[in-house]
Symmetry: C2
Subunit: 164 residues, 2 copies
DNA sequence: ACTTTATTGTTCAATATTGAACATTTTTCT
DNA sequence: AGAAAAATGTTCAATATTGAACAATAAAGT
């Protein structure tokens, strides 16, 4: 139990990652408070921003981008549709898919929200010199790549003894 | 709308932070799969690790460390207690507080889970040179400090015009 | 002393999130 | 062409998470 360090929290990488988790959680909460006046929550904002950026995206693709299940979209999108922020139109070629887009109202609201979001991020990362900021970005890209690879490889743990 | 860069996603800090969010979400999901065999989920693991580290902590303090509400603890802890992983004993001096500790079973399970967790973090951050890893840790500490400061300052927006 | 305020934990209703099962439609295979 | 497999979105039950209201206890103010 004490190969190199006795406890996980004495392990540099572990400590570093715990920090990432905490920062994320705090930012999420701060963001929630920051956009509460607009009547939306972080999950809605994520959706709106992606619709702003990728007009006509399908629910499936949106779910993939947000790393959530399809059912989540099926629950949230009708809410936003009823509030007149988004539209869902059937795709002409593939009758299974619904293409999503922002309404005028939705677009305005999204722009407001993005301004708030960017402002909060700016204020929060203001201390970080560009160099450190870049290091963070690169580290996260590596992590994302590795985790996505693991995700694609693992599922077949039924066959083959694998590396373990 | 196009002061320096037209869209948030062209903004370096914004991109960098989005990466942090995605990495966190992916790690959380991977962690969930990794410890699923032990019959626990990430929220339970967070609790167990904190009990491992801070024996006798109160529910309130635990909630604060985890950045969640007290009610969340009131919901989760009885589950872990029923499974025989933790114990809750009334404090002798202050009859309001419940002191939490791991049972033998809970301690063993926590050690198993921590090994898995540390392994996953190690594998995921293996690409990151120590230098970059350190930069991430420092950046996160700054962010955490700033967000916690903001949190303490903002609540009094009822009185005083403040900076705005 | 004793009244007020604060703290701790619980309960409850509201909302979020997930995975499995399902119907519909498309793609692939033969 | 026709059967099997895959993809898309929905529904549903189970579980998580939150904030507000609450009861019990402690601390502070008078």
């Amino acid at each position: 139990m004490n190969k190199n360090q006795a406890f996980p929290w004495d392990h540099p990488r572990f400590r570093s990652w715990i920090g990432v988790g905490r920062a994320c959680q705090l930012m999420q909460q701060a963001m929630g408070r920051a956009i509460a006046d607009l009547g939306i929550k972080p999950p809605h904002l994520d959706i709106l921003i992606n619709l702003y950026r990728f007009d006509g995206i399908s629910q499936q693709d949106l779910a993939r981008k947000l790393l959530v299940g399809r059912s989540n979209m099926s629950m949230l999108l009708p809410q936003l549709e009823k509030r007149g922020l988004i539209e869902r139109r059937a795709d002409a070629k593939d009758k299974r898919v619904l293409r999503l887009s922002l309404t005028g109202t939705g677009r305005s609201l999204t722009e407001e929200a993005m301004a708030i979001q960017t402002g909060l991020i700016d204020r929060t990362l203001s201390q970080a010199p560009a160099e450190r900021c870049l290091a963070v970005a690169e580290a996260m890209e590596d992590i994302i790549r590795i985790l996505q690879t693991m995700e694609s490889d693992e599922p077949d743990d039924s066959l083959l003894a694998k590396t373990r």
